[in-house]
Symmetry: C3
Subunit: 136 residues, 3 copies
Amino acid sequence: MKIVNEVFGVSSKHRNQMIDITSQVSSVVSQSGITNGDAIVYCPHTTAAITINENADPSVPHDILFTLEELVPHHRAGYRHSEGNSDAHCKSSVIGCSEQILIKDGRLSLGTWQGIFFCEFDGPRSRRVMVQIRGE
Amino acid sequence: MKIVNEVFGVSSKHRNQMIDITSQVSSVVSQSGITNGDAIVYCPHTTAAITINENADPSVPHDILFTLEELVPHHRAGYRHSEGNSDAHCKSSVIGCSEQILIKDGRLSLGTWQGIFFCEFDGPRSRRVMVQIRGE
Amino acid sequence: MKIVNEVFGVSSKHRNQMIDITSQVSSVVSQSGITNGDAIVYCPHTTAAITINENADPSVPHDILFTLEELVPHHRAGYRHSEGNSDAHCKSSVIGCSEQILIKDGRLSLGTWQGIFFCEFDGPRSRRVMVQIRGE
């Protein structure tokens, strides 16, 4: 059983943005030499998140961000947090700050249409993504 | 440390449906021979998800699906994705495509009322569920 | 590779409440002696959840609970579950019943502003939190 840890950076350009990080995570898997196990992708920020969804058609990330903004608007009467990013904290907890993906035959076992996204909800900012690969 | 991988199929009959897969996951745990560790239950589809909730009263899954449909309706002005299933992609990211459950004494350590559900948001379809058991 | 399991109790005082459990989880990590690996924090209840978010400013948990209540109100025409806590079941699936946090140098690798919260959605109640630490 082997454990490999890696960190890489992500730069967002918009307040709300889904950034495809599948290739970065795949590289960590390849370099780990682990062929059977899993990968944890973890976001150490409280106004961002990690999700897995379709990365073929850019309208899918658009519609996810659009829906989240409809449900959790940037400004809403009742928010108390003074930094003006309460919506980003809520979206982070709704989407979740990590994902796990199985590894088989030395590769991420993603479904045909699945990609891994870093979700920015309070950009633009420089962010970090932590990856841990565990297996044999 | 042992790693066991398994895949099983699920057939949904409705557009939105929560299907109890607890017994299938339990079987994979039993057959793995692993008594202490965890199970990852992973959905490789972008319009479905995995969740853990009450499986005793069927009104609970009904109310969860009903609430998700109220929040993320099938049709909404502003969606761009041309396949007509933007809502299903959003629900998938909100619920999440995997769950992890601890294993103790050779069994899933679920709470008294907890069951594992495959959540279909764009059925009816034939789907797959991936399970990885890790432990000793 | 070592696996350590622990359980601790949490008492909620309100119907909706986010309780910071970071120090309890950190103690389990310290006592495990594991320096490289991960921690799973798991909630065995169907009307509660686990999330990671900012624990510096109490207005952040307030705004998350406030937003969830706006989206998933306690009472709504259409709920069928007779126990009157359909909203709590929905919130549990939206937030999710577990989180995983990486462990490096014998400590939880949380981001600067991140804390781990037990989310009560049907309190006040006595609850349990299960923790599994895996690594070397």
